[in-house]
Symmetry: C2
Subunit: 148 residues, 2 copies
Amino acid sequence: MENYQHVLLAIDFFEQSQLVIERAKHIATTYQSQLSLIHVVDNLPFADLVYAGFPPDNLELMTVLMDNAKTKLANLAKELNVMEQNSYLEIGSPKTEIVRIANTINADLIIVGSHGRHGLALLLGSTSNGVLHHANCDVLAVRLQDED
Amino acid sequence: MENYQHVLLAIDFFEQSQLVIERAKHIATTYQSQLSLIHVVDNLPFADLVYAGFPPDNLELMTVLMDNAKTKLANLAKELNVMEQNSYLEIGSPKTEIVRIANTINADLIIVGSHGRHGLALLLGSTSNGVLHHANCDVLAVRLQDED
């Protein structure tokens, strides 16, 4: 059986994401795999804003969020020696975008943080489940402890 | 970040389970982790039989299934150099039993086969999802290709 050749680390920059980063770093080093990064800015909040009566062209908040995400992702890429072209910042549904990019780059392993049944799980739990369900490659869900 | 110390391989002996076995073998070798095995005989069919009017004490089929599973698990344990006491044959809900044994033995990684959205997925897809949802440790879902 081959080593994993190309690992896609899906990162959400929430608390404890350092755990997922460390695991990805460890695996990529152990297997000498190529490492790519993806962060998805969920477009749901913007849909909500529009629904709540904000004009659709009022994208100031989105710009701030995207700039913030871009900086964080660039810093992480630097820390992990990932080249800019292997670092993906996407807008949309996290599970859809993660699976789409994994297919595009022929990743054979997706690494994603997994929240449990409590707390944040209600909001975030669906990403790891969704990725697992739709991915065409292996998925490593790194367990994050929920604050109770 | 530490290597995985104790890997629990959850095996269902369906088609392609060799893929999951090879991946577990590869990871346990790479990380020099202890490897334990679990196979769960789902008790759902027996509940169905009882519901369908078979007398509850007619457990001949169950005995055959358990004997069959026992032999397969023993052969796999031998192949993987897993000692008998680290090889678990359980009856019940696969996700519940896998998570229970993982907790009991302090596994830090569960490896499980993952079926997609088609074919067998309707029947089997819930195991990897369920394990992911309930596990207290990392979960590696090894992708199995569905027959279309």
